[in-house]
């Protein structure tokens, strides 16, 4: 009996020792706790001669990707700084439930750490997702930057033609030479100004993607220039081969009006 109690005590001690080692990490002075990493996700750097930008790509791979010869559908995600985590979380859940197939996600980002990452994101999306220059939007952004204490950055808009060329001539070849991608199942996902860019692509180079996931696009940009692009496309085309999902929120009219007022008053 006494021997059993000793064994039990020893087991309890060992449990506490192991438990302490495994589950409660004791940090040394000046040591930071480990950071969370995203499962099955890697960062690739891609320099663009066309845009003159080092892009930081977030590439999320399916389960068992390394053991598979499958060519996977790919979703290119705009605004990954803000949206990649949500896209990855939702697509992982839907794929694991076999509601959608497993996919490769590619976030097209601008890199940086901390506050610099935010600035790179804000400047990059303004330049790349807007099809023509909008000086009012640039001025509004300049004032917003000044309010953050930043006055030495180059704020430009109207870079969508170059960004589209980058995707076609530099990004696609890079992805298709490095990953198992089904080049006949490419989706573009863009929200807000990202949706503006998505519709710009749809009316200028629709074959670039097979599917367009367009959320709350900035239809108001330059007094509705997207509607003009669509009209121009319609004068020369009867065919538009694409699958498009487009949505907005019931309460968004208010937001769009406020954005426009802010830019006009800048």
């Amino acid at each position: 009996m006494k021997q059993n109690i000793c064994k039990l005590s020893l087991l309890i001690c060992m449990f506490h020792i192991c438990h302490g080692t495994i589950f409660s990490q004791i940090l040394q002075e000046n040591e930071s706790p480990p950071r969370i990493t995203l499962e099955r996700t890697e960062i690739r750097l891609l320099h663009s001669e066309i845009v003159g930008q080092d892009f930081e790509l977030y590439v999320s791979l399916p389960n068992n990707y390394s053991k598979s010869n499958t060519n996977y559908p790919v979703i290119f995600v705009l605004d990954p700084y803000r949206d990649f985590l949500i896209m990855k979380g939702i697509s992982d859940v839907l794929a694991s439930s076999q509601i959608i197939p497993e996919v490769i996600l590619v976030g097209i980002g601008y890199g940086g750490e901390g506050f610099n990452a935010f600035i790179n994101y804000a400047l990059g999306r303004l330049r790349d997702y807007t099809p023509v220059q909008d000086t009012a939007k640039e001025e509004w952004s300049r004032k917003a930057a000044e309010n953050l204490g930043i006055d030495d950055i180059n704020i430009i808009s109207g870079g969508s033609p170059s960004f589209l060329e980058f995707i076609r001539k530099e990004l696609f070849p890079f992805m298709e030479s490095n990953y198992h991608i089904n080049s006949k199942d490419r989706m573009l996902s863009g929200y807000s100004d990202g949706g503006l860019f998505g519709l710009y692509v749809l009316f200028h180079d629709p074959d670039l993607f097979d599917k367009y996931l367009i959320g709350s696009p900035s239809i108001y940009y330059k007094d509705g220039i997207l509607l003009e692009y669509e009209s121009n496309y319609a004068t020369t085309h009867e065919d538009l081969k694409a699958e498009v999902f487009m949505s907005s929120g019931e309460l968004e009219e208010v937001t769009a009006e406020n954005i426009k007022k802010n830019e006009q008053s800048a």
Partner: protein, 45 residues
Amino acid sequence: MSNQLNSRNYENLKLNTIIFENESHETCYPVFINRGLRELNYDDE
């Protein structure tokens, strides 16, 4: 935009548009992704 697109009757365009109730620009993204991924024809592949 959706009205204009629908009025064209483009060949080979599969267009699905939705307005989410009680969602704003700031709240809409997760709903949009969840619904959009499912709607984009994956169900018949």
